[in-house]
Symmetry: C2
Subunit: 150 residues, 2 copies
Amino acid sequence: MEVPDIGVLAGQLMRAVQEELFETLAEQGHPDVHPRHETVLAFLDPEGVRATDLAARSGQHKQIIGTILDELVRLGYVTREPDPADRRAKLIVPTERGIDEIAKARAILTAAEERHERSLGAERYAGFKEMLQQVTRDQQAWRQAGPSTA
Amino acid sequence: MEVPDIGVLAGQLMRAVQEELFETLAEQGHPDVHPRHETVLAFLDPEGVRATDLAARSGQHKQIIGTILDELVRLGYVTREPDPADRRAKLIVPTERGIDEIAKARAILTAAEERHERSLGAERYAGFKEMLQQVTRDQQAWRQAGPSTA
DNA sequence: CCAAATTAGTCACGATCATTGACTATCAAT
DNA sequence: ATTGATAGTCAATGATCGTGACTAATTTGG
């Protein structure tokens, strides 16, 4: 069996984590959140965040954020409140249901990582995650350095 | 700054690897291959492979493989040859252009990993990749063990 | 050897998702 | 007050994925 490259491995890992996250969320009372919703939910704040900030932080287009927010509003996870500081903007505020989802999602991901800690050993896993962060940063940095120097 | 979970990290890493791969491929004479094509190209064999095998190995549906193959034929990367052993089947054979693409894709991915090796040190990077494989396997294994025992 | 069940591949349809451009309303700066 | 930038939405398009039905060929069982 060939050893897959880090791109393929990363993709498989992402997909597997997503499957655990959303299947477990479904069991815990949130059957209607999808991976695309999580890119918004992950960046919410009880105080409220502006849609543009969500777009910037998640790296997705404003329009996508808009349709995702439409769904999340319809599903009762967030509300759009007027921003007192800027009448153009709207603050995206999680509802109680939204806060519950966020908490449960965090718990599920923490539990998954704790499994890996037990499997690899806490020390090795800590090193792994640190290296994963650095490799990701370095790989993202190619955008600036690579195309010209290639 | 919060530490992202491994799912987000894996997703970012995958995306960054893909960007480097396809932008560099474009510079090297393959501007029209897309990520979806790679899921087929990665599993090709100069001797020819059957479409069903490609579907099984890549984990995607036959129909998707079919449309990807349509495009790859149109772009001149593969041809559909009759399978002498089974008149229903067709062997997907890479053209010279296809073989060139595969070789260049491998070289780009190898170069990226060598960058990370230099950055982390060969020994640490080897350990990282091994752990990445194990974590991915463990995470995928949740499907069997997790939902019931959760 | 022939009928039934499988398998390889394709066709047609619909659902989801991402990207682009234009548009209104508001803010900020001169 | 005018100009330019920003927040959010609308509309249209293309790319991608998934499902079911279909044809042709193979395999299996009598």
